[in-house]
Amino acid sequence: LAKTTQPISMDSYEGQEVNITCSHNNIATNDYITWYQQFPSQGPRFIIQGYKTKVTNEVASLFIPADRKSSTLSLPRVSLSDTAVYYCLVGFLSGYALNFGKGTSLLVTP
């Protein structure tokens, strides 16, 4: 069973760029990498998904190196409202294990 590893917590000031890296050494060929965000007392919500290279949307960017053994979620110019837990999820086509883990708790301060 493959697993993901990401920092337990990160701190940032408003306006800074935040990069959260996730390691997934056992990623399979057909797996996608998905990031979710969770605010207190809410269910997680989708942020971004990618397979390789770089993906960008209105919220974040996702950088995936060629070997795909890690990925980096980049949040540009964070605000206080970006304080949340961020989960890296690597899906599997065979076997349905869904390991969100503990995620990375991001605290943004003024």
Binding site: T34, F46, F92, L93, Y96, A97, L98, F100, G101, K102
Partner: protein, 114 residues
């Protein structure tokens, strides 16, 4: 359209009682997931339904936990003989087809076992 709904939003029960938690997925979503989140912990996978296939129960922590999905839509998670360690938020999610698809989460049911 409507999102994933769960009921009840809060449930307080006594140790040893059985509880049932309900999840209504997004219409048309064939995949349904149950997770558990204890205080300060991450999301723990419990069970996964995909269409009419046999569910993946690999995350269920004990045989006191069971789940069913009727007619490919509504799902019920049942916990028998509840224990204090079962206290947690139980989250349900659905996705269009497979685990790679975006999961849409419900608001969760907060279960407190006294």
């Amino acid at each position: 359209g409507a999102g994933v709904s769960q009921s009840p939003s809060n449930k307080v029960t006594e140790k040893g009682k059985d509880v049932e938690l309900r999840c209504d997925p997004i219409s048309g979503h064939t995949a349904l997931y149950w997770y558990r989140q204890s205080l300060g912990q991450g999301l723990e996978f419990l069970i996964y339904f995909q269409g009419n296939s046999a569910p993946d129960k690999s995350g269920l922590p004990s045989d006191r936990f069971s789940a069913e999905r009727t007619g490919g839509s509504v799902s019920t998670l049942t916990i028998q003989r509840t224990q204090q360690e079962d206290s947690a938020v139980y989250l349900c999610a659905s996705s269009l087809f497979r685990t790679q698809d975006t999961q849409y989460f419900g608001p969760g049911t907060r279960l407190t076992v006294l």
